[in-house]
């Protein structure tokens, strides 16, 4: 399959990331998970290698590679450690890409280079207690005063929040008493009035930094507004499909990590005088896992490839994210089953993949929301809308 989507550069990138992950990440992944420690040293190393700005144009300080390259790197990192992978992915697809897509030339030149080089980490604040996929229900308010906006409100579940230098946040825009709808700002996190909640204690992705963020009379210059508020902005959020491709790729990586361990175990462990993969009950599980991982990988790379062709991939990104995340949950569950009791203890490292998998069915739009998006898009084709 690789030959279908990969150039020589993609292959070299994958080999490099795999080497890096094997040597630098895998040996410390279990410990990072255990102590919930943000992988700052790894992020710095990844920044030096150019991994914090893979799909960002060279003139803005990125590597200038494509979405296929980015997805392949997220997969390889995710195979070693989902926390490291989501840190890079959220930084890139949510913290940096929106500025590249919707920013003015001035905003791009000012904010993107330090993000693309990995010198600064980026985050994206959309979700609120009553708004997520339903961005229209956003309660955070930005009221225009002269050449500035005063922002009040808060965001929840923000990946990289405590480590980020730049936060892209969504808000209602109020100008002269009129609600203009949803808009966004690029906010340096040292802005007065921005306050961080404590680090969330999570089931998985434990080394990733997730927090609530509060805005109390936070003053943002009007020139930091990203895009134009209103209906067009909602469309912009819908086309922000990079996050779904990230989660799809991370799902494939998470599943692969668990599958590889189950495969190894099944060829080593013996029962009743046979290696356990020789029992059809186990062999069939391995066959299903391998097949479904391959299918999810194809959906993911196909969506990434379509994005690189400049096509609308709302449906394809949702399909890849839906299938891959549910596949990852199933595969990590079966991997524990193959290892039996060892799968349940931390030393064998498979339960970490299982815990890291569940969020994949939730973040960037739940499975239920993905099905809603897909069904809306296929109904459209019948109704000729």
């Amino acid at each position: 399959m690789d030959a279908l989507f990969f150039t020589d550069e993609h292959t070299m990138l994958v080999n490099m990331v795999r080497d890096f992950a094997d040597n630098e990440i895998t040996p410390i992944a279990a410990e990072l998970d255990e102590v919930e420690s943000f992988p700052r040293a790894l992020v710095n190393q990844m920044a030096e290698l150019g991994l914090m700005g893979i799909p960002i144009p060279e003139e803005l300080g990125g590597a200038g590679m494509d979405t296929v390259a980015y997805a392949a790197a997220v997969m390889e990192l995710g195979c070693a450690d989902a926390s490291v992978a989501i840190t890079m992915a959220a930084h890139t697809s949510l913290g940096t890409s929106p500025i590249v897509i919707a920013g003015t030339d001035k905003q791009k030149k000012k904010f993107v280079p330090p993000l693309a080089s990995g010198e600064m980490i980026g985050a994206f604040g959309l979700t609120e207690p009553e708004a997520g996929s339903d961005a229209g229900a956003t309660k955070t308010r930005a009221v225009k005063k002269g050449n500035e906006y005063v922002v009040n409100g808060g965001k929840i579940f923000i990946t990289n929040a405590g480590e980020a230098g730049i936060l892209n946040l969504t808000s209602r825009i109020i100008d002269d008493g009129e609600d203009l709808g949803i808009g966004a700002f690029i906010v340096p996190t040292n802005t007065r009035g921005l306050k961080l909640g404590p680090k969330e204690k999570k089931m998985g992705w434990r080394a990733s930094d997730t927090r609530q963020i509060f805005f109390e009379d936070m003053v943002i210059p009007a020139e930091n507004m990203l895009g134009t508020p209103g209906k067009g902005f909602k469309t912009f959020l819908e086309t922000l499909t990079g996050g779904r491709i990230s989660v799809a790729a991370l799902s494939v990586g998470t599943a692969l990590g668990a599958y590889e361990r189950a495969l190894k175990y099944a060829t080593e462990r013996k029962a009743f005088g046979m290696e356990i993969h020789e029992f059809q009950a186990v062999g069939n599980k391995l066959a299903d896992m391998a097949t479904e991982i391959e299918a999810a990988k194809l959906l993911t790379f196909h969506a990434a490839w379509m994005k690189d062709q400049g096509k609308n991939i709302i449906k394809e990104a949702a399909m890849a994210k839906l299938f891959a995340s549910e596949m990852a949950m199933k595969t990590t569950t079966e991997a524990i089953q193959i290892l039996g009791g060892y799968g349940y203890v931390k030393e064998y490292d498979v339960e970490r993949y299982f815990r890291d998998a569940k969020i994949l069915e939730i973040g960037e739009g739940t499975s239920e929301i993905q099905r809603l998006i897909i069904s809306k898009n296929i109904i459209k084709t019948v109704k000729g809308l």
Binding site: E9, M12, L13, M16
Partner: protein, 253 residues
């Protein structure tokens, strides 16, 4: 400082190694290839010397069929300036003298200050190529190098001896050094390096034929056949039977 680094593409430590049906070598289509381990350290050492001196050139040289361009590109992505590919079919070729003369031919007109090679290849493990090249090109030569100090038109190298002993040797330039694994921390290729690698020159040369003095006749998995025979009886009987077995069955007496 102009440095040549010899790199070899070898089967990876975890690669499957099925024997080809012609029994001349493994089935190359099934092999996962990597850069020879000690060559990777040699490349890193060359890049570090160039960076420390803020001038010079690192040229990577490899010998083999088209597939070896993968390790050449990897070396270019890590920072080598250009490459020479000596294009030759290497199946069944195991004569270090022939290998070294191909390299010597390609190297001699370039006037390198230093020629680095890995201590030995992970597939055949001859450990001779770098030493023979040094001899052929009339260069000072040191093997098993674990540290290098440059300066004043000379170099000092630390060599690994037996039983935990080391030796520091001064050499005049030009010199050929074979590098031991572990003397530095090889870098990963950066994305910038990967994207830039295809713009770098790979000069492909066809070598003059050299008569090989040795070649691979046949490779096969050794057949292991273990038989245990219990010899019973009185001491005299046992000795008699044992001698009979040594003389007639095992034929060692």
């Amino acid at each position: 400082m102009k440095i040549a680094v010899l790199v070899k593409q070898v089967p990876g430590a975890e690669s499957p190694l099925p024997i080809h049906s012609n029994q001349k070598w493994v089935d190359e289509d099934a092999v996962a290839y990597v850069m020879n381990e000690s060559d990777n350290y040699a490349l890193e050492e060359a890049l570090q010397i160039k960076e420390a001196n803020s001038e010079g050139e690192v040229v990577v040289i490899s010998l083999g069929p088209d597939r070896i361009q993968k390790v050449i590109r990897e070396a270019l992505a890590k920072g080598a300036d250009r490459a020479i590919h000596i294009q030759i079919d290497t199946v069944g070729a195991i004569d270090p003298l022939a290998t070294a003369s191909h390299f010597a031919d390609a190297l001699k007109e370039e006037n390198f200050d230093l020629i680095f090679s890995g201590l030995q290849s992970d597939d055949f493990g001859m450990a001779q190529t770098g030493v023979i090249i040094g001899e052929m090109l009339g260069m000072a030569t040191a093997s098993l190098v674990m540290a290098i100090e440059t300066g004043g038109g000379k170099i000092k190298v630390k060599r690994e001896l037996e039983a935990g002993w080391f030796q520091w040797v001064s050499l005049s330039l030009p010199a050929s050094l074979t590098i031991q694994s572990g003397l530095n921390t090889p870098r990963y290729p950066s994305l910038k390096g990967i994207m830039g690698a295809k713009k770098k020159e790979i000069k492909v040369v066809t070598p003059n034929p050299v008569e090989a003095n040795q070649s691979l006749e046949k490779i096969y998995v050794p057949h292991s056949d273990k038989q245990t025979v219990m010899i019973e009886g009185s001491v005299d009987q046992m000795v008699e039977k044992l001698i009979h077995t040594f003389r007639n069955d095992i034929k060692v007496l």
